[in-house]
């Protein structure tokens, strides 16, 4: 990394003050004494939580923020400790991170890469954040990850599902706990085969932007490998609200499965429209017509209401899992907020703990040391079973859930039920897999 030596230190500089151990943001600059960007020198350390607070994903952002607050509480030794108690690593003591009390700042990504970067920059440059986390779309994750790489802080991705985040656009300073489109496809394929057989004609509706394409590509590859045929793949505009003109032709296309590569509002609307058109009751090619939504979330299930019944998809995590980590987390979260956490919340909570733990184990906040501690790290007890943070691409490998909309939910928290937990072996891929090729982690950047 090129060091900036613009000029001599300003004459006004008061060495005594600078040395007094202030937690000042010392950004990107070589002229400070810090060894890396935003080195915490006082009794506190600042984390930046960058989540969508406005726009269609605001509710997801709010849930992420709840998880972050909970994680900070637990790190600082307040509350019950949550998943810290079940976490396989015991480095965290509940006394902050390396004895420094954890503080946090928040910002609004607006689900726009520009706004997200501005918000992250404000955290890094003004508030002295040493780690940025959160977000609920891949465009934002890639943009902020790139920024953190340049600035020399760690990025712990929130909800981002595109292959690119740890593929083409992977960065040494960035880490993803959430699963990706390839894994969704790999987990879904065997279940789809079991449920719907190998002789199926699939029709894809795909959101016309990067994430949609990578997901469609992944699902098509996985389903074709088991014998399905792809009748058509139609790209739909991101801004589309009424999908009727895309759904209507499906009926007469000879397809007997509809795959909706949509997320958020797009998915709620396209699914609602598909059910309105009576696709679920149709018989095509002598089989029941089926709809698949590869990436699920609780909030989307809530938005789609009854239309979600019987629809199969995949999730990173679900609060109904039975392991100790999940139970501890759901208890802590549920008692604090009155409802169970979403998968977005879980990934954000886990990322925060993982970061803090890595700092403890590395014995330093230096992003390079932290990165080293995270890369190749194996852990358990954070709700997903045994997990590996792979060194090659900073992607977590863990079991993936295949879920289905419940037919008769007992309450609004039981809208989805777990069909199967696809073991990690099935979703693991080679780092050089063509869908992930072209990227380069590069060198870790400590900033200063």
């Amino acid at each position: 990394m090129t060091k900036t030596t613009l000029s001599r230190r300003g004459v006004l500089k008061s060495g005594a003050v600078a040395g007094a151990g202030l937690a000042l943001p010392t950004i990107f600059t070589a002229s400070s004494a810090a060894a890396f960007t935003n080195e915490p020198t006082g009794g506190t350390v600042t984390l930046g939580f960058n989540v969508p607070q406005s726009g269609p994903y605001a509710d997801e952002g709010a849930d992420e923020l709840r998880a972050f607050e909970l994680a900070v509480e637990h790190l600082n030794g307040e509350g019950g400790g949550g998943m810290m108690n079940t976490f396989s690593s015991k480095a965290l003591k509940g006394n902050g991170i390396m004895g420094k009390k954890v503080q946090y700042v928040t910002g609004d990504t607006q689900t726009k890469s520009d706004a997200a970067r501005a918000s992250a920059k404000s955290m890094i440059e003004k508030d002295g954040a040493i780690m940025i986390s959160g977000g609920s779309s891949s465009g934002v994750a890639v943009a902020v990850q790139g920024l953190c790489q340049e600035a020399g802080v760690i990025f712990m991705a929130g909800l981002t599902h595109s292959n690119d985040t740890t593929g083409k656009d992977k960065k040494a300073n960035g880490f993803r706990h959430f699963f990706n489109a390839y894994m969704s496809a790999a987990a879904l394929a065997p279940v789809l085969e079991k449920l719907y057989g190998t002789d199926r004609q699939a029709y894809h509706l795909t959101a016309d932007y990067t994430w949609g394409w990578t997901q469609q590509e992944s699902i098509q590859a996985a389903t074709e490998a088991m014998g399905w045929k792809t009748v058509n793949n139609v790209l739909t505009p991101l801004a589309q609200t009424d999908f009727s003109s895309y759904i209507a032709p499906v009926i007469n296309s000879g397809a007997d499965v509809l795959v909706l590569n949509h997320y958020g509002g797009n998915m709620v609307n396209s699914l609602t429209n598909a059910v309105q058109f009576g696709l679920r009751e149709k018989q095509v090619n002598g089989k029941n017509f089926e709809i698949v939504v590869p990436l699920y979330s609780e909030l989307m299930a809530k938005g789609a209401g009854q239309n979600i019944k019987g629809i199969v998809g995949s999730q990173n995590w679900d609060w109904k899992l039975e392991d100790d980590g999940t139970k501890a987390f759901v208890k802590a979260f549920g008692e604090k907020y009155g409802f169970p956490p979403s998968q977005a919340a879980q990934t954000c909570y886990a990322q925060t703990l993982l970061y803090a733990d890595a700092v403890e184990r590395a014995g330093s906040f230096n992003p390079c040391a932290v990165g080293e501690a995270l890369a190749g790290y194996e852990f358990d007890g954070l709700g997903n079973g045994p997990t590996l943070y792979r060194a090659d691409d900073h992607q977590c490998f863990k079991d993936v859930l295949v879920v289905r909309g419940a037919e008769n939910p007992q309450d609004e928290f039981h809208l989805v039920e777990i069909v199967e937990v696809t073991p990690v072996e099935q979703v693991t891929y080679d780092p050089e897999h063509p869908m992930f090729a072209g990227g380069n982690l590069g060198e870790c950047n400590p900033g200063a």
């Binding site: 895309y246 007469n252 709620v268 609602t272 429209n273 309105q276 058109f277 009576g278 309450d411």
Partner: protein
């Protein structure tokens, strides 16, 4: 052929939503000369009237069911809607099921009241101000309204299904002599189209055949002269604003089952409805309706695979492309009057 019929149906359906919103927008514009960027928000509030009524009917008391557990392992609280308790399970269930159509009645007074308050409280002071100021203040209002909805209902869409009998779809193709399952169309969308036709017809009839409507039309043509006749045109214009708000609100109520309402649906429709109004010609009611249907149908055609494979991405931009072409070919849109909004 069947694909084209299908897309025409889709287009009519989409077009009826555009036309309803554009109708109110152009009504306000034509009578008051105000560019109302909050009109999309009125549509959104209409949809949330349906959501609210459905939530009201679903207001429940809780009883503990010790046989089941909630997510924290405590006994499950089973919810029973009050309406089922008060009116018996059947009537209660019927009320809940029919909450969207019932919301029509519920929403009219609310929307008219909102319209009155908006006009008297805010819009009135902007008649003489530049259009840019009107745009900005109503845009500000739209943001405020949608944020209020967001803080009460969240950002996530709220499912608001149609009554049971209207779910599912109707096989049009058989009616027209095609094979079964070729042209099917959801019942509720047909209801929406019929509803829109009634509302549009109603508004036109009202303006055409009542003295009130005649005065308003005269006012649209020449406000000063009507004022000179000693007719209190301002009061009538307030009522027109209420009417326009009600039309937007009703469009929203009935739209709720088509797509789950969310707080920014108004903004999604806002730009589109402006394009519709301008393509139709500012201040022209038939123009707005015609443009609504035209753009709806063209949008549907553009999303056909056959079209998309020739021009990739055409469905992304069709509306804007058509708007540009029409405005270049016809300076004031399809049926615009001269001198309106050109300065």
């Amino acid at each position: 052929m069947d694909a084209i019929i299908l897309q025409i149906l889709n287009g009519l359906d989409k077009g009826s939503a555009y036309a309803l919103i554009a109708l109110g927008l152009t009504l306000i514009f034509g009578t008051l000369g105000v560019v109302n960027f909050a009109h999309g928000a009125l549509f959104m509030i209409g949809a949330f009237c349906a959501v609210t009524l459905s939530k009201l009917f679903n207001l429940s008391f809780e009883t503990l069911d010790p046989t089941k557990k909630d997510f924290l392992g405590n006994p499950l609280k089973v919810k029973t809607p009050y309406v089922q308790e008060w009116f018996g399970p059947d009537v209660g269930a019927w009320l809940i099921d029919w909450s969207v159509p019932l919301a029509i009645l519920f929403s009219i007074p609310i929307m008219v009241a909102i319209g009155f308050v908006m006009e008297r409280g805010l819009i009135k002071h902007f008649y003489k101000r530049p259009h840019a100021d009107q745009i900005l203040v109503t845009f500000g209002l739209a943001i405020v309204l949608q944020e209020i909805i967001k803080s009460n209902f969240g950002a996530n869409p709220v499912p608001t299904p149609a009554p049971e009998v209207f779910r599912g779809s109707f096989d049009f193709g058989v009616l027209l002599g095609f094979d079964p399952n070729v042209i099917i169309y959801p019942y509720w969308r047909m209801v929406y189209f019929a509803f829109a036709a009634v509302i549009i017809g109603g508004v036109f009839a009202f303006l055409q055949f009542t003295t009130f409507g005649m005065v308003v039309r005269a006012g649209m043509a020449d406000r000063a002269t009507v004022g000179l006749l000693g007719i209190n045109i301002d009061k009538r214009f307030t009522i027109m604003f209420g009417l326009a708000a009600a039309v937007a609100g009703l469009a929203g109520v009935m739209y709720a089952p088509i797509n789950s309402p969310n707080y920014h649906m108004g903004m999604d429709f806002l730009v589109l409805s402006f394009v519709v109004v301008v393509v139709g010609g500012m201040g022209s009611l038939p123009g707005a309706v015609a443009a609504g249907f035209l753009l709806g149908i063209l949008e549907s055609f553009a999303s056909m695979n056959e079209v998309k494979s020739v021009i990739p991405g055409i469905d992304q931009i069709i509306i804007y492309l058509v708007a540009i072409v029409i405005l270049l070919a016809r300076p004031r849109g399809l049926m615009g009057r001269k001198g309106v909004m050109e300065d």
